[in-house]
């Protein structure tokens, strides 16, 4: 999958999704459920404001000191016995993971849920080298069986309902009868994956927070698959974006409170797994070797712009997509790339380039729901507007593909409208012309049709409000 074939296809995919009643019902039900669950968690507005301010402060501080903290993380991890690797691109990260696995002679890998590994297309890359990677998060396992990509960053198979999953299991899992009973489906996955865990040569996971102070990788989950992937196999490889670092261990509790409450409305996840070292002498279990791969993939470019840097605060709770009126209607696959929804709309164009995903910042009504629920106060609407502007008139050159949407006709059009709206004489003339001929203008004219294809063409009044007022005897004021 290359970026080229997926460029700027949001509108087409969204239109198809909008016409799929099953998909829309699946998302509507799921998003309504997640919003209601989150709402039960933040009933005290004072607590929400205080906790959120503390969470945002920890993330902003970590980003302000990012280069130092990454070095501290590296030295603490190394001292603890964790091997740290740096990757500028997803290709480099794939090469690093592959060489670690090859060196260990690993053929079968069990995976905990990791969006960064999705970003890397890690499974496909490993498969190309004869290494089988099995997803163990139930949602990820389901979409791996279906050969699909996640449609939500927390609930990857949210686009599927139980009858689709029942049919998939009956088809793909040997000896599995068709059943829509969720307990039975879950038990079937447990049975298959137990064997995979026991036979895996290595486990691969993501990271929720990497604590520089102690060299600790914090992973949260409900299923236990993340713990199994990082505990049972002899080798553990964690992949993470460079922005996930926190300065101190004491920064973990407020974020650990914000993340699951915002994501799924739980006070805490079932498991919080803090990994600081491989198996120590005398210990009976745990991986003998732990590797941490720090992936840049455009993040240091995002970091270069002090305003857009706020994109990197994200702790991947998905509250923004759960509350987004656009995401709820079109689903995650319409966004083509790894991170859908509002956070994806600001992250993807910066990573992939505005020339590739420049349509995404426009897929928003700027209603502001995302910013309202963001637990680390990312000003998403402000950044959407900034990226829209970058696409036509780059401010700093920091954004890849900046200026790629500039069109001569459009910029003349705006220049013309500036003129009209700053000259009373010209405004008067144009308003009259509009009143006389506006309704004769066909909706299919180029440029105008971009508006009229999805909206009713406005009706021009024969007389402007200005003129009506004057005729009624009101004067200027």
């Amino acid at each position: 999958m290359t970026a080229d074939v997926r460029r700027c296809d949001f509108a087409v995919k969204a239109r198809n999704a909008l016409q799929d009643p099953k998909l829309r019902a699946n998302f509507r039900r799921a998003m309504d459920g997640l919003m209601a669950k989150r709402a039960t968690q933040f009933t005290d507005p004072e607590e929400w404001r205080a906790l959120r301010a503390r969470g945002a402060e920890a993330r902003v501080r970590a980003l302000a000191k990012l280069p130092e903290l990454l070095e501290r993380l590296e030295s603490r991890c190394t001292a603890n016995g964790i091997t740290v690797h740096w990757a500028e691109t997803t290709a480099e990260a794939n090469t690093i993971v592959l060489s670690i696995l090859q060196e260990a002679g690993a053929r079968r890998v069990i995976k905990g849920k990791s969006m960064v590994s999705e970003e890397m297309h890690l499974n496909a890359n490993l498969a190309a080298h004869g290494i089988i990677a099995v997803e163990s998060d139930l949602g990820e396992y389901i979409i791996q069986l279906a050969g699909e990509a996640p449609s939500h960053i927390v609930m990857p198979c949210i686009h599927k309902n139980r009858s689709e999953i029942a049919a998939l299991f009956a088809w793909k899992i040997p000896g599995q009868p068709y059943t829509e009973n969720v307990d039975d489906l879950t038990a079937a996955a447990r049975r298959v994956l137990r064997g995979e865990f026991a036979g895996a040569d290595a486990g691969i996971s993501g990271v929720n927070f990497a604590v520089a102070e102690t060299g600790t990788l914090v992973l949260i989950e409900n299923e236990g698959n993340g713990r199994l992937s990082t505990t049972l196999p002899p080798l553990h490889i964690a992949v993470t974006g460079i922005e996930k670092v926190l300065e101190k261990l004491e920064d973990v509790p407020p974020l650990l409170s914000l993340l699951p409450r915002s994501a799924t409305g739980q006070p805490i996840t079932t498991y919080v797994n803090m990994i600081s070292a491989p198996r120590r002498p005398q210990e009976k279990d745990g991986p003998q070797a732990v590797h941490l791969v720090l992936l840049d993939n455009g993040r240091s470019r995002v970091y270069a712009d002090p305003e857009l840097r706020d994109t990197l605060r994200c702790i991947r709770c998905a509250a923004c997509m759960n509350h987004c009126p656009v995401y709820t209607r079109v689903g995650g696959h319409s966004y083509s790339f790894t991170y859908p929804g509002p956070i994806g709309k600001i992250l993807t164009p910066q990573i992939e380039g505005l020339d590739c995903a420049g349509d995404q910042p426009h897929a928003s009504s700027l209603c502001g729901a995302c910013a309202e629920v963001c637990p680390v106060e990312i000003p998403i609407p402000k950044l959407l507007v900034r990226l829209r502007a970058e696409a036509v008139e780059p401010l700093s050159g920091a954004v890849r593909g900046g200026g790629s949407a500039r069109s001569l006709i459009e910029s003349w059009g705006w220049r013309g409208s500036t003129l009209v709206f700053t000259s009373p004489l010209l405004y008067g003339v144009v308003a009259r012309l509009g009143g006389w001929f506006g309704n004769l203008m066909p909706g299919w004219l180029p440029i105008i049709n971009r508006w009229t294809s999805v909206r009713t063409k406005p009706h021009f009044a024969p007389k402007s409000l200005h003129r009506l007022a004057r005729e009624k005897g009101y004067d200027h004021e």
Binding site: G33, A50, E57, A64, E223, K284, S300
Partner: protein
């Protein structure tokens, strides 16, 4: 990839980050923003701990220093547990092994060898395991497990039932307080775990299902003071 490449990659990433304009440390939160403080539960600590765990579908039982082995045994027998994984070199492990009638079911299976030598037993051959918890956090109903060579990590993960013994005096209000009071930052074990219920998933139509990978049941025995 050669060492040189790796060093170059690291230098380029850090170079770009260092060259980026510095932004001053976070401004004070806007005036009027309340200051976050970790939650306090005072006298209601145990009640909160119990309620939070039960809300996550864990079982909480009050026991005494003297009667916990008997309580545990009858609970396990009631649940049809026939093989109990235990840590033979811990105080509670020795207590279990010394119990009159220790030869009767549930059979005690010691975790006394590295996982490599015990894998089939651990993965599919035990029904339950008993561990201690270092402390319990009332705010979220979380057990803090601090695995040791004597009490390894997988005990709380592989068997379908996990029983935990904890003293009421080890309950704290919040994670924040605990990290500070116990000085975790200077003493992190290789793996520290917080467990706040049985293993669960809601990946299929947001319907809760238990025991997807980890224990299906979590039983917490609190030694009341």
């Amino acid at each position: 990839m050669t060492m040189n490449d790796a060093a170059g990659t690291r230098a380029r990433i850090l170079g770009r980050l260092t060259a980026a304009p510095r932004r001053s440390l976070p401004a004070e939160p806007p005036p009027g923003t309340p200051v976050w403080a970790p939650p306090r539960h005072g006298a209601a600590r145990f009640t909160r701990f119990r309620a939070m765990l039960e809300a996550a579908r864990a079982e909480v039982h009050e026991v005494t220093v003297d009667d916990w082995p008997q309580t545990l045994r009858s609970l396990l027998i009631g649940k049809g547990v026939s093989r109990l994984l235990y840590a033979p070199d811990t105080a509670i492990g020795r207590r279990l092994a010394a119990l009159p009638g220790a030869a009767e079911p549930p059979t005690l299976i010691p975790y006394d060898r590295p996982v490599e030598e015990l894998k089939p037993v651990l993965v599919n051959g035990v029904d339950a395991a008993l561990t201690t918890a270092r402390c319990g956090i009332a705010d979220t109903g979380s057990l803090v497990l601090w695995p040791t060579p004597e009490e390894p990590r997988l005990m709380s993960l592989l068997p379908p039932l996990h029983a935990v013994l904890i003293e009421e005096t080890a309950l704290t209000d919040s994670l924040s307080d605990t990290i500070a009071a116990q000085g975790w930052a200077g003493a992190m074990p290789a793996n520290l775990l917080m467990v706040s219920g049985p293993s669960k998933t809601a990946d299929i139509e947001q319907t809760l299902a238990y025991g997807v990978h980890g224990p299906r049941e979590l039983i917490v025995l609190v030694i009341r003071s």
